[in-house]
């Protein structure tokens, strides 16, 4: 278990402010944020490379805030791996054991064991210079794991790898965490990467935590606009509650029209609709007609991302929709006038907790 309690740290103009993250034993946690948000600095504070100004760090119930990095029992994999180029793969992996004074035979045994798990046994005698990015990543991981750390801290561990390697390494990381019951904090800017490994996650921006929770919660119940936009939802609107509607819904004023939102809204509010929840119909097929929360819109732009097609819509408000390729084909956009019908189901709205008056 690792608990970073109200950590504060500053360097130059940048400040890490009251960052509070707790990861239970054996859980895999991903800290998300854009470049320059303070993710790496936070990790370095946990390692002990940087001394925190305020706050505490607990590892397995032991307070380690003022301990040296070597006394914290952590494994650290930095973004560029920082492998020791003057040593072989085997000597890199067994570095921690050599420092602890273990015999050569024990070190060799440990190196072979961990290399077997990571699939790099054939590389043990090689120099670092000739390794590929994926191989270097595995060596760095082996080096961090060999001393059996309580917590593994990884800074963008797969960002330098291609998509196939990324998936492969993420699966390996998750498996290692599960097999060893190892607590992991993994720093990343990539949402897909987080979804492939995380039990829990947090989003940080400008040194401040925006939200902590499961990825599902960050995706569908964001604490604020920043989190929603980071989780790739730009369908955010301001509205004003007009009157209650049946079944706990609320009729709200939106641009020049009205919408029915499936939950209670008070006064002024901000709404979010995830792009995958926006329903788009061919203008000739209708969508049950221009019923509740439905309107005509124009498709300004579309782009095929393989697993979905992104539509940029312009109607009463600018809107982004993600539809399947079969739905996109049905819209027949290239032959028609790019006019479609858009429908927002009342239960697809999420009302932000902050209320702007």
């Amino acid at each position: 278990m690792i608990h970073a309690k109200n950590l504060n740290f500053s360097i130059g103009d940048f400040r890490l402010r009251n960052v509070d993250i707790k990861v239970e034993k054996g859980k895999y946690f991903v800290l998300l944020g854009p470049a320059g948000s303070g993710k790496s600095i936070f990790l370095e504070c946990l390692c002990g490379i940087r001394r925190v100004e305020k706050g505490s760090i607990f590892i397995d119930g032991r307070i380690v805030t003022n301990l040296e990095p070597r006394q914290r029992n952590i494994g650290y994999v930095p973004q560029d791996y920082a492998l020791f180029k003057h040593l072989s793969v085997e000597d890199n992996i067994t570095f921690a054991l050599k420092v602890k004074g273990q015999s050569k035979s024990k070190r060799n045994e440990a190196a072979e064991g961990i290399a077997e798990v990571l699939g790099i046994k054939h590389l043990l005698k090689r120099r670092i210079a000739g390794l590929s990015g994926g191989e270097k990543q595995r060596v760095a991981l082996g080096r961090a794991l060999v001393a059996k750390p309580s917590v593994l801290l990884m800074d963008e561990p797969v960002c330098a790898l291609d998509e196939a390697r990324r998936q492969e390494i993420c699966a390996l990381l998750r498996k290692i965490s599960d097999d060893l019951n190892l607590t992991v904090i993994h720093v990343s800017h990539n949402i897909e990467e987080a979804f492939s490994v995380a039990d829990g996650a947090a989003i940080i921006s400008e040194g401040q935590l925006q939200q902590t929770g499961t990825l599902n919660k960050l995706l569908r119940e964001p604490a604020n606009e920043y989190v929603a936009r980071f989780m790739r939802c730009n369908n955010i609107f301001s509205c004003k509650a007009l009157e209650p509607a049946p079944r706990g819904a609320t009729k709200v004023e939106f641009c020049d029209g009205t919408l029915v939102v499936g939950s209670k809204v008070n006064g002024f509010a901000k709404l979010m609709v995830r792009p995958e929840n926006v329903e788009v119909y061919n203008i000739n097929e209708g969508g049950g007609g221009l019923g509740i929360n439905a309107a005509e819109a124009c498709v300004l732009e579309w782009r095929d991302f393989g697993s979905y097609v992104r539509l940029q819509l312009d109607g009463q408000s600018s809107l982004v929709a993600h539809v399947s390729y079969s739905t996109f084909k049905r819209l027949n956009l290239e032959r028609s006038s790019n006019r479609v019908i858009v429908r927002l189901r009342p239960d697809s709205f999420y009302v932000f907790p902050e209320i702007h008056t």
């Binding site: 020791f84 054939h122 994926g134």
Partner: protein
């Protein structure tokens, strides 16, 4: 294994593509560029080689044999060798911690300290000798070191080492600093998370990675110390068998009009320098700076 095989295949393919595009051995623009750079190498090496060959052609064998047999040449050779290697060793002893400190730590007066380190490089050599002489003969501290502590430097073999140290240590310090600058601090941080103390991370990570640069600095220092002349004349003098080094012997022989003798000693110096540099390079591995 499959994964590694595929990745190796990709890498070797990429390597081949790179070679076909950027290798200096293919493509006319690359060839012209390579030829241009090699032209300068060839011109410089040819000039130096011609100068040495001219010396070799000028002297006769008899002078070389006499030089090799002369006791005072053997004495000055020995003094040159032991003093230059001692000065290099002491320089490196200072250079490694100083290079590390200047590279890694920020402290008040760092810029000034960094500049002072380079100062002896731009000192005219005679000024360096004069400065040392004034310090040890005219100042209270200098006199106290010489008379009070009994460490005599002026006109003593120890003075040669001090002179060489003063003039050439800057090369070792500068090279060590540059070498440590090139070592990623992150590696040391990782070593600290793997159980190292600060000293351990320096010993096991920073020092081995900076090794080539430090060796290169050592070579420069030794070369400078071995060939030093001006300051030695002023501070250590030229007492035959005691403070005479090869460079001062050449000067004395020239002053006496023995040109062939002086040239033979000069060739001996060049030969020793060549052999020493080659041995240091071979033992120390690839030098990055030189």
């Amino acid at each position: 294994m499959e994964y590694s095989g595929y990745e190796n295949f990709l890498e070797s393919r990429e390597e081949k593509m790179l070679k076909s595009v950027d290798s200096p051995t293919s493509g006319w623009s690359s060839r012209v560029f390579a030829a241009l750079t090699l032209f300068f190498v060839a011109v410089f090496v040819t000039i130096i080689a011609m100068l040495i060959i001219a010396d070799i052609l000028y002297i006769d064998k008899q002078a070389v044999i006499e030089v090799l047999k002369a006791d005072f040449v053997r004495d000055s050779l020995w003094v040159s060798v032991w003093t230059s290697f001692t000065a290099t060793a002491i320089s490196l002893l200072f250079a490694i911690p100083m290079g590390y400190a200047l590279s890694r730590f920020r402290f008040p007066g760092r810029l000034l300290a960094d500049t002072i380190v380079d100062l002896p490089i731009v000192f005219p050599p005679l000024v360096a000798g004069l400065t040392l002489l004034v310090f040890f003969s005219q100042t209270f501290i200098g006199s106290w070191i010489e008379d009070g502590l009994g460490f005599e430097f002026v006109f003593q073999p120890k003075g040669i080492v001090l002179c060489q140290l003063f003039v050439s240590a800057s090369f070792a310090i500068r090279s060590a600093k540059t070498a440590f600058d090139d070592v990623e601090l992150r590696g040391e941080h990782v070593a600290m998370t793997l159980g190292c103390t600060r000293w351990g991370s320096f010993r096991y990570v920073a020092l081995p990675l900076a090794k080539n640069g430090i060796i290169a600095g050592g070579i420069l220092t030794w070369a400078r110390a071995f060939g030093l002349f001006g300051p030695l004349m002023i501070f250590a003098g030229t007492f035959r068998g005691r403070t005479e080094v090869l460079s001062t012997t050449i000067y004395l022989e020239l002053s006496a009009g023995n040109l062939e003798f002086a040239l033979a000693i000069a060739l001996l110096m060049i030969f020793i320098a060549l052999i020493s540099l080659m041995i240091i390079r071979a033992v120390g591995g690839k030098a990055q700076i030189l």
